[in-house]
Symmetry: C2
Subunit: 143 residues, 2 copies
Amino acid sequence: MTRQRALIAQILRTAGRHLTAEEIFQLARRSMPSIAVGTVYRNLRLMAEDGELRRIEAAGGPVRYDANLSPHGHLVCRVCGKLDDMAVPCLASYLSRCTGEDAPRYDLSVDWVCPACRRAREGGGERDSVDQLHNGSQTYNID
Amino acid sequence: MTRQRALIAQILRTAGRHLTAEEIFQLARRSMPSIAVGTVYRNLRLMAEDGELRRIEAAGGPVRYDANLSPHGHLVCRVCGKLDDMAVPCLASYLSRCTGEDAPRYDLSVDWVCPACRRAREGGGERDSVDQLHNGSQTYNID
DNA sequence: TTAAAATTAGGAATAATTCTTAAAAATATA
DNA sequence: TATATTTTTAAGAATTATTCCTAATTTTAA
């Protein structure tokens, strides 16, 4: 565990959102100006291999990294590109049965139009059902 | 619809597996030696935007393209890299409820060790339960 | 405290993809 | 059908994301 790796891990834990390698590099050099971009990539790769963080390959854009290790999917707005977390109950246990993995790692990204962009598109006014669904909790029965 | 685009669509439909842009380019130039790599990329992007084909971003490797439009996930072997299709019943309808999309497009890739690599690793011998799942209707070998 | 092993900074190299431009092809119009 | 307009193409330069290389530095082990 080097100072560089500790810094990268801390940035990701406190970010509160999904950062790209480049964003992590820019944040890291604020407190450690000598850090190299290759160091950021190498440590991100190693930590992902060790399961200390998750790689997420969201549609189109560059790879992002997530310190939240609990299984979840991602919603990608096709209008503004915003990335949201999404609970997918039961998916992990279904995949565990299919693959024989104890804790299967998956990457799920779903294309949608986020509530803000949907309202802008539809001219505002009516509240649509998407907001309620997104803020509520769904159950996913796969059996 | 140009000759180039028709060729690309036909290659993907008859491939029987998930091709990268580079593989599609190599196959295309056999019957149309003048085709340019940029043309392949542009048409793949346009066709994906139109929903005529699916982009799949499997862990690590380059983007692959899939003419199979029915919703399904992908299994990626972490040892040999082989890519298999995988049925995920109910996921599409769950995502439809969450996102408000009629036919939500998703990209699901799951990290596992395929049956062949698992046997090689464990020294062969015992049939494991993964094989049964794999040979059943859950998954089919595509790559 | 010193030796060995691992990691770093810095930059070159690579891979995948997009962009640019003039020419060719496709489509619309007369 | 001939011609004008629009779209798409080929070719390759440019860009973006990422990995690789090397000597120097840092970390770990003895």
